[in-house]
């Protein structure tokens, strides 16, 4: 029993350093700040295409990236711009001269300095479609016919992987669970139930059966992290509670919420129906891979600290619980503030 408690303390203190790392990250990247953008190119007639560029609000400001169309795409209808809840939407109609849309390159200058992904979709009148995911590391897309399934798979796995690594709130929740869980079997059960739960809601939200508005969703996710703070401290003191006895139940319930959060990273509007299931599957695979890497590093660090006989001061041992709780509280207040601003802007528009 003593060994188990010591091991838990070691886990707590070891992961403290990860928490500090996460703290430093929090200013730079939050899950709900990395909303994807989208470009929908729809054939209206002949060589006429409608181009809708949805640029997400980036840290409260206009997105620094802009859409650059090929030179042979001539704008024929005056471009329009409107502001919706979380994005600027730019619409224009273009006439595409020779050599046509096939092989055209759509570029996004300014995207390289951001953390935004952009989904590009082309829908033709004959029913053929083309999709691509543009990343800041490669801020352009070539519109070229159908793509192989493994190209799509790699794109969506990468997208899911990046999404979880940028989603500090999700990782912090997993970290909180790791701090509470005792024993390998319980760890397996807890991580599995979190995975099953968020996969369920991710699927439901992506397929359009249910949705959750972003500001209250972010507040609820932050609350789930805040909830874990006192439980970690309780566990550290050797006390017990429902969460400490059955962490997998809490993981499942809150996992349902986090799934809606993951869905915000996968924009499927206008995506061809045939491409939806693989996109969802591979995005989720990427999310799980990212989560596994995080859990693996945390556990490997714990083992390393044990081998290196790292001894922590008592106050450092208590830090993880307080860090998780404090960050949860901070994000809850921040989300509430964002909700108020959002409500104020909506009422002003009316």
């Amino acid at each position: 029993m003593k060994g188990m408690t010591g091991q838990r303390h070691l886990l707590g203190t070891g992961v403290t350093l990860l928490v500090l790392f996460i703290l430093s990250l929090s200013g730079a990247a939050l899950a709900h700040e990395s909303q994807p953008g989208s470009v929908d190119i729809k054939q209206l007639a002949g060589n006429r295409y409608e181009v809708i560029w949805k640029a997400p609000i980036y840290y409260g400001k206009r997105h620094p990236a802009r859409l650059e169309l090929p030179e042979h795409w001539q704008t024929v209808v005056e471009p329009t711009e409107r502001l919706i809840a979380d994005a600027h939407v730019y619409r224009r109609v273009v006439a595409i001269e020779d050599p046509g849309v096939h092989g055209s390159m759509v570029r996004f200058p300014g995207l390289e300095g951001t953390i935004t992904d952009v989904f590009v979709r082309l829908n033709r009148l004959d029913g053929t479609t083309m999709t691509a995911v543009v990343r800041p590391t490669k801020p352009f897309a070539e519109l070229r016919g159908e793509r192989s399934w493994h190209t799509t798979a790699a794109e969506y796995i990468g997208l899911g992987f990046h999404h979880i690594l940028q989603g500090i709130d999700h990782l912090l929740f997993v970290l909180g669970l790791l701090l509470i869980v005792k024993g390998r079997m319980m760890l397996l059960k807890t991580i599995t139930s979190f995975t099953v739960a968020h996969s369920l809601t991710l699927g439901i939200a992506t397929l359009g059966y249910a949705s959750a508005p972003l500001p209250p969703l972010n507040a609820a996710i932050a609350l789930s992290i805040l909830f874990l703070g006192p439980e970690i401290v309780r566990s550290w003191r050797g006390e017990t509670s429902l969460t400490i006895r059955y962490p997998w139940v809490v993981a499942f319930l809150f996992g349902l919420l986090h799934g809606f959060g993951f869905a915000s990273g996968l924009s499927t509007t206008g995506m061809p129906r045939a491409e939806l299931p693989p996109a969802l599957l591979f995005f989720n695979v990427g999310v799980e891979l990212g989560q596994l890497v995080f859990v693996f590093i945390a556990l490997a660090l714990v083992r390393s600290f044990r081998i290196l006989q790292v001894r922590w001061p008592r106050w450092v041992e208590a830090l993880p619980g307080y860090a998780v709780g404090s960050l949860g509280a901070y994000w809850t207040i921040q989300s509430k503030h964002e909700m108020r601003i959002s409500k104020y802007e909506t009422s002003n528009k009316l």
Binding site: F21, S24, A29, I115, D117, T137, L301, L308
Partner: protein, 249 residues
């Protein structure tokens, strides 16, 4: 020494011999011959037992440093995941930084748990301090620091030198300050401080995992394997040195 230990020592000698062959090639070049004569490193080849003198290594390192300053070439990595991950990406994609970090962790692991602990905390802190200093610098000339790090740390691992308790902390702080300063200068126009924080976190993870892994190695042949890895690092440093000298000529 029992037969088993002798066998392992022989295996170790084999890798050291390979290393010596590379050194010998360098010695036969005219420049290498003068260097070897100057610092009596040739004695290494005549000695029946390999005794790598740390003072000789430091002199050689300083000589190389002084011989060939060049311009700093900053290469920034964009991961599309924010400045912290950009910093992590920079470290992962820069072998000149990554290999010495792994080498230090290997050497600290060979020296035991207490050395591993010291490296674990000192290296990231020194790197951050050096990096913050580097952010303030303008046009930093890049000495071939990587070559020195490769040679020094690779040589220490390959020889499994039983240096004093202070050796690993001194190495960790020196490596952190120098490489950190170069990193800081490189990241100044990119992820800057947040990039350094990412690097610091990654260093912590690397040193913890690698040094703990080496400490956990119980079988004698596994330590030999670590020393062989050190000899490869040394040989890589030697190759880099050759390219640098050839480039200058």
């Amino acid at each position: 020494m029992n037969a088993k230990e002798l066998k392992y020592r022989n295996t170790s000698s084999f890798s050291i011999c390979s290393l010596f062959r590379v050194l010998n090639l360098f010695r036969t070049s005219s420049f290498g011959f003068r260097i070897f004569q100057l610092f009596r490193i040739s004695n290494l080849f005549r000695a029946s037992n390999f005794e790598f003198r740390i003072s000789q290594a430091i002199v050689l390192a300083v000589l190389i440093l002084a011989a060939s300053p060049s311009l700093a070439i900053a290469h920034l990595v964009t991961t599309g995941m924010g400045p912290v991950y950009d910093g992590i990406g920079h470290l992962l994609l820069t072998p000149e930084d990554l290999v010495p970090v792994i080498a230090l962790a290997l050497y600290a692991g060979l020296r035991g748990a207490s050395s591993g602990r010291r490296a674990l905390f000192l290296l990231p802190l020194a790197w951050l301090a050096g990096g913050l200093g580097g952010l303030l610098l303008n046009d930093m000339p890049a000495y071939p620091v990587a070559i020195v790090s490769f040679l020094l740390l690779g040589g220490l691992i390959a020889s499994d030198l039983q240096a004093g308790d202070g050796a690993v902390p001194v190495l960790a702080v020196s490596l952190g300050l120098i490489h950190g300063a170069l990193n800081g200068a490189a990241l100044k126009n990119g992820p800057a401080v947040l990039g350094l924080v990412g690097i610091m976190a990654m260093l912590f993870v690397f040193v913890a995992l690698v040094s703990a892994f080496v400490v956990s190695l119980n079988r004698p042949w596994t330590r030999i394997a670590v020393r062989v890895a050190g000899s490869w690092i040394f040989a890589s440093g030697l190759l880099m040195l050759g390219w640098t000298l050839k480039g200058q000529g």
